[in-house]
Symmetry: C2
Subunit: 361 residues, 2 copies
C-alpha cells in the first residue's frame, strides 16, 4: 500500500504534510508549527498522524505476507463529523479477508453521550469529542494459521474553548486459533509480555486478564473466543498509578506494532502446513463463534451499529464464511477436542502446559 | 417422527394420554376430566397439547419432503421451570438444516419480568407465568428453495390462586428467498391471505405490515430479511376488536399449519431445478444477512440468550453456513440484483409486479 518501513514502537515520528492534509484531524492541525520539536506539539495531532503511519505499516505487513493480494481502499465520512479509511484485502493467497480500518474525527456531543463513550467526568455541558484509532481483523485461508485481531484507540473530550476535559487510550491484540498449536499461544503471549514489560511492570498481567474476561461468548457457557492476548480501555494518563500521557502513547505504539513480532512468525511457520476437509470444518465452526461474539457481545460492533457508522467497515470483522452445526462435540484425543481445551484462560507466557504435550489426531 | 396425519386447522383435537404425560403442562393437566367435551376444558392444556401435535405434524412434513434425513430429538429442562423438545434434521437430501422446537412451562416471576414478556396488566404481585410454542427454521440445500420460518406461541399469567391475569397469542410465517422467484412470494402471500381471511377480515393486511416492519436489518439501511409473510404478537382475546379466545386459538392453528400449503408446493417445484456456484454464493450471502438479523435484532433469540435457555435450541435458527463479502453489489439484469429488488415490502398477494416480468441472468 505504501513504502513506509515498519517503525519500532519508540522511534520518533515525522509530522509532515500528511498531517496537514488529513481532513479528520480538524482545523487545529493546519495551525501547528511543525518547526517546533515534535514532543512539544499537542498529543492529539501526533496520535492522529501516528494512526496513519500504523495503518500503512500494517497494510504493508499483510500484503507482504499474502503474496499477491492487494488492499482495496474506501474513505468514508460519518454524518455528524469525522470519518475513516477502510482497507480490505479479500481472496488473497494467504488471507481470505483482512481489514485494516482507521477512523478519526468527532464533533459536538451531549454530556450523557460522553459518559457512554467512557468518560467519567461529570459535566452538564456540551463537549467536543475526538477519537482516532486503527483496528485490524485478519481471517487466514488455512485453518493452520490463527485469526488475529488488533485495536488501538485514543479519545479526547474538550470544552468548546478547547480546554481538555478528559482523554484516554485503549487497545489490545488477541489470537483465535482454528487448529491447536499451543506453541503459537506461547509465542504470542511471550511477545506481548515482553512489550508490556518495557512500559509498566503490572500491565501484562492486568491486560491479559482483562482480555480473558472480555472476549467471552457468555451465551456459550462462557466459552472464550480464542487464547486471548491483551486488552485495555479507559487508560487515563497519570491516574491511579497509570502511565503519564507520553508514556501511555509509547505503550499504545508498542501494542499497535506488536502484530509484526507476535503474529508474523506464526503466519510464516503455519502457512506451509498441509490441511484437509476436517481441519477446514473446524475452522468454519470456530469462525461461527467469532461471528457470534462480534454481533452479540462486542462493544465496538454494537457502537458502530448504533451510531450509523459505515456498515461495511463495522462488519469488516465478520469472517468470510462460517458454519453452524448442531450439538457438536468431539472425542478426547482429536485435534478438535484439543483446540477447545486451549480456550479456557491459561498462563501461556509461562510455556506449554504439560497436558498439551501428548499428540492428537 | 410420528405417524400423525396432518390436521386441518379447524379439526377437533383429541386430548389423551399424551397430555397427562407431558411434564411441562404442570400438575393441572393430571386433574383434567377428559370425559368432558373438549371445548369445555380450559384453554391452557388444549393449547399445550396442540403444540405437541403441531410439532409432530411439521417434523413429518419435513421428513417426507427431505427423502432420507431424520430428525434428532433432544429434550431439555430450563432451570427455573419448564423445558422443551428440540428436533433438528441436519445434512438431509433436500434440507441442510431444519429445526422444529417446542417449549412449554414457566414458573413464578416478578411483576417487572411479566411486563418485559409483554403483559400490559400492571400488578405488583408475583405471578405464575406459563408459555408454550413451536418454532421452525428451515435452511434448504438448494439456493432455488427459499428459507422459511414459523413461530406460534401462547402466554398466560395467573395469580397464585389460579386466577387469570393476562394471556395472549403470537405467531407468524415468513419466507426468505435466496434466488428470485417472484411467483413463490405470490403463492406464499396468497395462501396466508386466504387463511387469515377465514378468521378476520383485517388480519392479513395488519399482520403482513407487521412482518414487513419486524424482519428488518436496520443496520443494513433497513434491508428486509426476505419477502415477508405475516407476524403478530400480544393478540389478547376479546380486546380492541380482536378475536375471542377460541377463535384466536383457531387462527393460531391455521397459522401453524399454513406451512403445509404455503411452503410445500414451493419446495416441490424448486427442488428439481439446477443451480451452480454463483447461485450458491448468493444463498450464502443472504444466509449471512439472516444470521445478522437473528443475532442482532430478533427478540426471540435475544430473549433466549438472556434467559439461559438451551443455547443449541436458541441458535438452531442459525444457517448451517454463511458468507460475508465486502462491499458487494451486482449490476442490473443479474439474478442477484433481482433478488435484492424483491426485498422492499410489496403487495405480493396481488400478483407479480410488472417490473419482475423481464428475464434476468
Amino acid at each position: 500500500m505504501s513504502s513506509q518501513a515498519p517503525l519500532p514502537g519508540n522511534a520518533p515520528m515525522i509530522l509532515g504534510s500528511n498531517l496537514l492534509q488529513d481532513p479528520f484531524l480538524g482545523p487545529a492541525a493546519a495551525t501547528l508549527d511543525l518547526s517546533r520539536p515534535e514532543e512539544s506539539l499537542p498529543l492529539r495531532p501526533r496520535v492522529g498522524r501516528w494512526m496513519q503511519v500504523l495503518q500503512d505499516t500494517l497494510t504493508d505487513f499483510f500484503e507482504q505476507r499474502d503474496g499477491g493480494g492487494k488492499f482495496q481502499e474506501d474513505a468514508w465520512l460519518r454524518p455528524g463529523g469525522g470519518g475513516g479509511v477502510s482497507r480490505v484485502l479479500t481472496d488473497g493467497g494467504t488471507f481470505e479477508k483482512v481489514g485494516v480500518n482507521r477512523f478519526a474525527g468527532g464533533g459536538e456531543i451531549p454530556a450523557e453521550m460522553a459518559a457512554r463513550l467512557g468518560s467519567d467526568r461529570t459535566t452538564t455541558e456540551q463537549v467536543d469529542f475526538f477519537a482516532t484509532g486503527v483496528s485490524v481483523v485478519c481471517h487466514p485461508r488455512s485453518p493452520m494459521v490463527p485469526i488475529v485481531h488488533m485495536n488501538v484507540r485514543y479519545f479526547q473530550l474538550n470544552r468548546p474553548d478547547g480546554q481538555l476535559v478528559d482523554h484516554w487510550f485503549g487497545g489490545g491484540l488477541d489470537l483465535t486459533p482454528t487448529h491447536p498449536h499451543p506453541e503459537d499461544a506461547v509465542h504470542f503471549h511471550q511477545t506481548l509480555r515482553r512489550i508490556c514489560m518495557e512500559h509498566h511492570p503490572d500491565y501484562y498481567a492486568r491486560f491479559k486478564a482483562w482480555c480473558d474476561r472480555y472476549f467471552v461468548n457468555i451465551h456459550r457457557d462462557n466459552e472464550n473466543r480464542g487464547v486471548g492476548g491483551i486488552f485495555f480501555d479507559n487508560l487515563r494518563p497519570g491516574e491511579n498509578g497509570d502511565l503519564e500521557a507520553e508514556e501511555a502513547f509509547a505503550l499504545v505504539r508498542g501494542v499497535g506494532l506488536a502484530m509484526l513480532e507476535a503474529y508474523g512468525p506464526i503466519v510464516d511457520r503455519r502457512k506451509p502446513m498441509p490441511w484437509g476437509a476436517r481441519e477446514k470444518e473446524l475452522q468454519l465452526v470456530r469462525r461461527g463463534r467469532y461471528a457470534e461474539f462480534n454481533l452479540v457481545h462486542d462493544r465496538g460492533t454494537k457502537f458502530g451499529l448504533q451510531t450509523h457508522a459505515r456498515i461495511e467497515s463495522v462488519l469488516m470483522s465478520m469472517p468470510p464464511s462460517a458454519n453452524w452445526g448442531y450439538n457438536l462435540s468431539w472425542p478426547e484425543g482429536t485435534f478438535e477436542h484439543r483446540l477447545h481445551q486451549m480456550l479456557p484462560p491459561r498462563e501461556w507466557a509461562d510455556g506449554i502446559p504439560e497436558e498439551f504435550l501428548t499428540p492428537v489426531r
